[in-house]
Amino acid sequence: MKKLISILLTLVTLAPALPAMAAEEVNVFNWEDYICEEALTLFEQETGIKVNYMRFTTNEDMLVQVRADPANYDVIFPSDYIIERLINENLLEELDFANIPGAAYTLDWLQSAAYDPGMKYSVPYMWGTVGILYNKTMVKEPVTSWTALWDEDYRGNVFMMDSIRDTMGITMKMLGYSMNTRDQAVLEEVKDKLIEQKRSGIVKAYQVDETKDKMIAGEAAMGLMWSGDAAYAMGFNENLVYVVPDEGSNVWVDAMCVPKGAKHKTNAEIFIDFMCRPDIALLNFEEIYYCTPNSGVIDLVDEETLANETLFPTREIIDRCEFYDDIAQELQAYNRIWLAVKSAR
């Protein structure tokens, strides 16, 4: 008993040290698997600012937490349409670009974005597309269309995404509509299509971050994926091919923002600037394989990498794609359809 008490007492005295009362810190809320850990270590070493790193899986999950307590985070990494909503809801701080000289590295075509007019609230971190990653030994012909995801020959062999906008968006594209449709009749059609796909047993699972490793292991013939995860998987399994289908798809930008009332705004800006430094941006690029918005990185990589269409999509591919708009008014309708799909049996 005495031993037990002394062990417990030692733990009590140690515990307060854990929440790290370091004078300088920055709370970063980023996607799963979306940074090179070494970049964080370098940041801590060079600036002396401690990073509290937290992760989320989808935009929607992140939004819930940021709305609940915005002051809990100093840097967040939302996608374009979520940035639009955060701006509209007055949940972002305007950035002080005097602290972020590195923002100048951002590619020109990403500097004038509709989601953040005048680029006052965000600095692009990565961008990419949504497409199909398929295993060429497991399909009958090269995949070029979203309809492949509805092909009954691949029953139990398709990973879909547990992400509302992506899964519903590509269904809209397959049906020939915009990914930003607000038309109730189209939404119903999308719902039926997705339920049909699920009921016929084509869908193996709805998931997000798990898919890349399952694809590497050959667990399924194809999966709906973001380009960077696809590029990562292709590095481990040479039979994997990524394609942005002919009907078109989504192109997105994830950018770094500071939520309203952030406790360490200046540190946040120092962090954002650090992420823009070409050598750091290169570290991240080489770790997670998403498209870089950083012109400094493009100068650093070799010809062969530049020619990789998954890492650097051609103009022709980008032109096929559209950005998501914030469909705030129809959000409820989208959510309801997604629930109906997820609960269908």
């Binding site: 008993m1 515990a15 929440p19 799963e32 307590d69 809990n72 997000v208 971050d209 292991a217």
Partner: protein
């Protein structure tokens, strides 16, 4: 007949142990993927002790469990003494409130606390997780201590007072030793409940992850082989602890040691 019985129990044990055995075996696998057996190796054990994420989560898990246990044991023991001397209706009220967290599904407890913390604008992290753990631990202490109080001779305390002991002294020297086994049982129960909790921590902390939360987030992307090594170590620890406790005797709550996992 006896052989048949043994065979049945054996089969159930195989079912219970097969998955754990697989993790333990893979923890010695040289190769990183489960698809290949690369020969024996201890490298995942080495890697485990350098994995900052896992070590941090382990620290959070153990320290939250220890702190919550202490707070719950003190609060709960004192409360049990109070409840024991209550008159009928206040006593019923307290018992019902104490029963509530044990009856509520973990997910509802977690969500209700999450709403509270967000409502009070308390950032959810280590502190809120600790508060939540204390909350669900206290009832276990009360339910372990109360039966001991009931069994105690009520005249003992009065006698101590009559002999001139101050109430505090009587409490510490007379009541506490009598109920100590119950207190220890309650503390042990609290500790294991805290160690294993997932659902309540998941909703009440964003900033800090305990081991369950870390494993959950890992299963949603990629589970490193170090987790296998961790499983093996935990398994052996549990094995040793249980056999030690079992051989030591039955004072730590017969039949109650059977209450390991909370299950969200």
């Amino acid at each position: 007949m006896k052989a048949l019985r043994r065979a049945y129990l054996g089969l159930v044990l195989v079912f219970l142990y097969a998955p754990i055995a697989v993790l333990v075996v893979y923890s010695f696998n040289q190769s990183e993927t489960r698809a290949v057996w690369g020969g024996l190796s201890l490298k995942w054990y080495q890697a485990l002790f350098h994995d900052k994420n896992i070590l941090d989560a382990l620290y959070v898990t153990v320290s939250v469990a220890a702190l919550a246990t202490m707070a719950a044991t003190v609060l709960g023991t004192i409360a049990a003494i109070g409840i024991h001397s209550m008159k009928s209706w206040t006593r019923d009220l307290f018992m019902n409130v104490t029963n509530l967290p044990m009856l509520m599904p973990d997910i509802v407890t977690g969500i209700s606390l999450m709403i509270l913390f967000i409502f009070m604008k308390v950032p959810r992290g280590y502190g809120t997780m600790l508060l939540a753990h204390v909350t669900f631990d206290i009832p276990y202490v009360i339910f372990s201590v109360l039966p001991r109080l009931k069994r105690m001779n009520p005249n003992l305390y009065e006698a101590a007072l009559d002999l001139g002991a101050r109430p505090q002294t009587a409490l510490l020297k007379v009541i506490l030793p009598e109920i100590l086994p119950g207190v220890i049982t309650g503390a042990l129960l609290s500790f294991t409940m805290s160690l294993d909790d997932f659902a309540i921590s998941y909703f009440t902390s964003v900033r800090t992850a305990n081991l369950s939360m870390l494993i959950y987030s890992m299963t949603r992307r990629k589970v490193p082989p170090t987790i296998n090594a961790l499983s093996a170590i935990m398994f052996v620890t549990v094995l040793v602890l249980l056999f030690v406790v079992n051989n030591r005797g039955s004072d730590t709550g017969r039949g109650r040691g059977t209450s390991g996992g909370s299950a969200p």
